[in-house]
């Protein structure tokens, strides 16, 4: 489902003339199979977020290839990647990333609008999705009027609304208490077993790491464990 081949990345900081290069990822190769939950762990600053941002297409790799769902995304331009993203990828972020001026309903509806789905279909699907995450009664609440856990459920609803085969998550439980975290992990498991959604989850939480079929550990930009597991 996701194939990474010899991926390397470095950041360039500083003004022209006295630039410094910060190598973050060095020759990373691994694969995530369909229906798998793979977690990535590692110390802070080991390059986990950078790796996920590369897979998400938010930044472009210096070297190497990224294949998702049979397509080579590492060479796609922005427009193409945008269309690819909305069809194939769902995102769950640590800080939820909901649009504060939109209600829970509107936030969940947004990907359908971007996809060009008609209004009646949109309404039905959005309501179903909100019901699924147990927030139908909160559909007219703005993100600021929801708890952290509720906001995370809205963001999951938004990720799921377009039925993506893959969900990428960067520390999804980072802002949640342990009880809410457990609910979320249960939900992820359900989505994986019931709908066969593939997950790539970054975490430094052992509980989260444990739901994965496999765990990859990063250290100083290299994989040190779990490639073959």
């Amino acid at each position: 489902m996701i194939t990474i081949k010899h991926l390397s990345h470095e950041f360039v900081v500083g003004k022209k003339g006295k630039q410094t290069f910060i190598p973050v990822l060095k020759d990373i190769s691994f694969e995530v199979k369909e229906g798998e939950i793979v977690t990535i762990v590692g110390r802070s600053g080991s390059g986990k977020s950078t790796l996920l941002n590369l897979v998400s297409g938010f930044i472009h790799p210096k070297e190497g290839e990224i294949w998702i769902n049979g397509q080579k995304v590492s060479q796609m331009n922005e427009t193409k990647f945008a269309d690819f993203r909305i069809k194939n990828l769902g995102f769950i972020f640590q800080s939820f990333q909901l649009i504060p001026s939109m209600t829970a309903f509107q936030n969940v509806e947004l990907p359908l609008i971007l996809k060009g789905v008609s209004e009646t279909v949109r309404k039905k699907q959005t309501e179903e999705m909100l019901a699924k995450v147990g927030l139908l009664d909160y559909q007219d609440h703005y993100p600021g009027e929801l708890s952290g856990g509720q906001q995370q459920r809205v963001s999951i609803a938004r990720a799921l609304i377009v039925n993506p085969p893959i969900i990428l998550a960067d520390e999804p439980t980072g802002s949640l208490d342990s009880e809410t975290e457990e609910d979320l992990l249960k939900f992820i498991k359900e989505l994986n077993t019931d709908l066969g959604i593939t997950f790539l989850i970054i975490t430094h939480d052992e509980k989260v790491a444990n739901i994965g079929h496999r765990t990859i550990e990063l250290k100083d930009g290299r994989i040190i464990e779990g490639v073959l597991a």
């Binding site: 930044i59 922005e78 945008a82 947004l110 609008i113 971007l114 060009g116």
Partner: protein, 451 residues
């Protein structure tokens, strides 16, 4: 993303900063109204001038003054040969030619009198050109004349004419003018000449055969008396000068000039078959060194002048819209800055940069078009007010009435269209950069709230 959804987005976004958007629309509307009102003055005055020109003249008429003579650089008067040449030109309907008696004819019938122009006209050509009689018939012998429609209306009682004899329109009041029968009556034409410093008069009795039709143009007046060629010959025999010109012995006259004018026409008009043919005939005449005047020619020049003036006015008006566009640029830039975090999130979940650009362009054109629309509506109001108020101001300041046909401001349909096109273009241009910026919003920085 559907267009209707894009519109919904734009409206929602605009609602978030209502005051700012209203102010920008206001500035745009003012710019557009300024452009339209300014240019409408050009359109209005052009309309007035053209209307005046076309109403005063017959569109198919070409006046031919003479032919440029290469030797002297002066003009030669036209004669039968020229007229024949004109008549043979294609698309010519008629060529009228008139000789004028070179002194005022004094006409007397009973106790009523009038001094007026005496003309020898070629009636077949005049009729082809549209001359008609309202009563009687054309002259059949040399002593018969046709009088202009206004001739009887100006036959006043003998003696000094005083102001109370005329009404407000400057017409002779009925009780002071000749009311008897005219057709078939004899009137006396008195012609004079100078001999040894003494004025000698001779009376030629003529019989009125017909009266011409009322001139079609409201303002026109025809009080000429149309006499026969033979009668003119008699008058010339009496005065001993061509066309009865009165010569004082003290006058310095070139005898050759005098001789040359003997068989020439004083007024030659060529009538084209239709308006489209005028230009061709004028061109051909010009090629042969004839001096001409036609409304069509003058219209062309006047229209060209006004086209330049209007372009200038529209250009100045465009500057106003350009200034307004700075406001649009500002508003859109601020909108993009404010919404950068939202844009970042939308991009992260898969919004196409092109869609984002389109939404912002839509927003700026929305502002521009609403502004242009309001500006257009307002400018119609201003234009109406200008036409209403300026004559009043002129009357107050200079005490003069403005002729009712003068239009100070006129907005033809093309003007709002020009304005909307200019405004739309300027809006798109000023919205382009902010929209471009919106597509460049960095997803990661936006999500870290760093924008």
């Amino acid at each position: 993303m559907k267009l209707s959804d894009q519109f919904r987005f734009v409206r929602q976004n605009m609602k978030k900063n209502r005051t700012r958007v209203y102010m920008t629309i206001l500035a745009t509307a003012m710019g557009c109204a300024f452009l339209i009102v300014l240019a409408s003055v050009g359109f209005g005055l052009q309309k007035s001038v053209v209307k005046e020109m076309t109403e005063r003249r017959i569109m198919t008429q070409i006046d031919v003054y003479g032919q440029e003579t290469t030797e002297s650089g002066g003009y030669r008067q036209l004669d039968d040969k020229d007229v024949q040449e004109f008549e043979e030109m294609s698309d010519v309907k008629a060529v009228t030619r008139r000789k004028m008696l070179q002194q005022e004819g004094f006409y007397l019938i009973g106790n009523y009198q009038q001094s007026t122009q005496t003309v020898v006209a070629n009636f077949p050509s005049e009729i082809k050109a549209g001359f008609e009689l309202s009563a009687g018939s054309l002259a059949k012998d040399k002593a018969e004349v046709v009088v202009g429609y206004n001739f009887p209306l100006n036959l006043g009682v003998k003696g000094e004419q005083t102001e109370e004899m005329f009404d407000e329109q400057g017409q002779l009041k009925e009780k002071f003018r000749y009311n008897g029968k005219l057709i078939g009556e004899t009137i006396e034409l008195t012609v004079s000449k100078m001999e040894d410093g003494k004025k000698i008069e001779k009376v030629f009795p003529v019989k009125v055969a017909g009266i011409s039709k009322k001139p079609t143009k409201e303002w026109a007046e025809d009080r000429s008396v149309y006499i026969s060629e033979e009668l003119l010959k008699d008058i010339e025999a009496f005065t001993g000068t061509p066309k009865g010109i009165v010569l004082d012995s003290t006058d310095q006259v070139n005898l050759a000039d005098l001789e040359a004018s003997k068989n020439t026409f004083d007024d030659v008009k060529v009538y084209a078959k239709n308006m489209e043919a005028v230009q061709g005939i004028v061109d051909e005449l010009k090629e042969n060194d004839y001096a001409t005047y036609s409304v069509v020619n003058e219209l062309k020049e006047v229209n060209l002048m006004f086209a330049i003036a209007k372009a200038g006015l529209i250009f100045i008006g465009t500057i106003a819209i350009l200034i307004a566009s700075i406001g649009i640029y500002n508003t859109m830039t601020m909108a993009v800055t404010e919404r950068a975090p939202d844009i970042g999130i939308m991009k992260a979940i898969g919004a196409n940069p092109r869609t984002i650009k389109r939404i912002f362009l839509l927003e700026s054109s929305y502002i521009g078009l609403i502004g242009a629309f309001i500006g257009t509506v307002v400018s119609y109001g201003i234009s109406y007010a200008v036409n209403f108020v300026i004559p009043i101001i002129i009357k107050q300041a200079f005490g003069e009435e403005t002729p009712p046909e003068i239009v100070f401001s006129d907005i033809p349909l093309s003007l709002p269209i020009i304005c909307i096109v200019i405004c739309y273009g300027v809006t798109i241009l000023s919205g382009l950069r902010p929209a471009q910026r919106a597509t460049k919003v960095d997803v990661l920085r936006a999500m870290r709230r760093e924008v």
